[in-house]
């Protein structure tokens, strides 16, 4: 059973994940690949730790986040454990206005449907 300390830690983890996803999106828009790649590694690390603790569901609220980069990252990872909800979010992003987030959503869905998408 999850105690208050566990819940607080989980909340902090999701907050860190959302911040890293938003930073990755900002870096991609601004053409800063070093920052994007540092953010990528942090996202991968957080996702691995959530999986190890059996807490991946904590990412699901981020599917409704205001930042499309955060929604896109949460959906890309959620394809592993909540594919129906993830596909809904990625399909919406993939049909949105032109943007790096739209391209990433299109390519993520394409790779997943081909069975080529890998998870951290």
């Amino acid at each position: 059973m999850m105690n208050n300390a566990d819940a607080d830690r989980g909340d902090r983890t999701v907050t860190k994940y959302a911040a890293a996803a938003a930073l990755h999106g900002k870096a991609t828009h601004e053409g800063d690949s070093d920052l994007a790649n540092r953010s990528y590694e942090e996202l991968a690390s957080i996702y691995r730790s959530l999986r190890e603790r059996g807490e991946r569901d904590r990412l699901l609220p981020l599917l409704e986040h205001a930042d499309p980069a955060v929604r896109g990252w949460a959906a890309a990872h959620a394809l592993e454990f909540a594919p129906e909800r993830a596909v809904t979010v990625l399909t919406a992003l993939a049909s949105g206005p032109p943007s790096p987030e739209r391209l990433t959503a299109q390519m993520t869905l394409q790779e997943w449907r081909k069975g080529k998408l890998t998870f951290p």
Binding site: T28, G31, S33, A76, H77, R102, T118, P120
Partner: protein, 200 residues
């Protein structure tokens, strides 16, 4: 194949009429751009420029002469989409022929087509890195694969290729593309341009 001033016979690689420039165009009055219609372009059948530099041609077949005469399209088509050619560049699409210029190096392309306009850079839709060896220089340094984009967008796209994204499995986009076919990379490159604001 009809070219503005002469008829070109693809079977022989020769024109069927004498070069109107006469001896100024070289001793072979029926030659076509040094016999290599892929790597050299002579849209009006007037001059095979040395090193692809139209400024080496006689004055009457110079770039400005071509521009004054040219009333055809100023774009290249890639999979049905049109990409504009900068004003002043030698036309790539010849009347009725659809020949697109291709070069053995990026330097040769720039010598022939000119430097990018101020604030712009030449952009390879299918990247150079690793692909010249796979697909050949002529496929990469072709007017089909190069267009001018604003420097800021070019830099953002270059950074995107250096970044890791959700779909690349822990690799950079460039590494993820490495084993894909030319047509897959072309499609992806067009999608990138569209999503970074270059193609409406």
């Amino acid at each position: 194949m009809h070219r503005r001033f002469r008829e070109y016979d693809p079977a022989t690689g020769q024109f069927t009429q004498e070069d109107p420039i006469g001896l100024a165009g070289g001793l072979n009055l029926y030659g076509f751009a040094k016999g290599d219609p892929v790597n050299f372009s002579d849209p009006f059948g007037l001059c095979p420029p040395k090193d692809n530099n139209v400024n080496d041609c006689p004055a009457e077949s110079s770039r400005s002469f071509w521009d004054r005469l040219w009333s055809g399209p100023r774009y290249v088509e890639v999979n049905g989409e049109r990409y504009p050619i900068t004003a002043g560049a030698v036309p790539d699409v010849v009347p009725g022929g659809g020949v697109v210029r291709a070069f053995r190096s990026f330097g040769a392309f720039k010598r022939a087509m000119g430097a990018a306009d101020e604030g712009m850079q030449w952009h390879h839709i299918v990247e150079q890195a690793g692909n010249v060896e796979r697909f050949g220089a002529e496929a990469i340094h072709s007017a089909r694969n190069l267009l001018q984009v604003p420097t800021a967008i070019h830099q953002r796209i270059s950074a995107f290729y250096s970044s890791k994204q959700a779909f690349t499995g822990g690799q950079t986009v460039r590494m993820w593309l490495r084993n894909q076919s030319f047509s897959e990379q072309m499609q992806f490159g067009r999608d990138v341009l569209r999503n970074f604001g270059m193609i409406p």
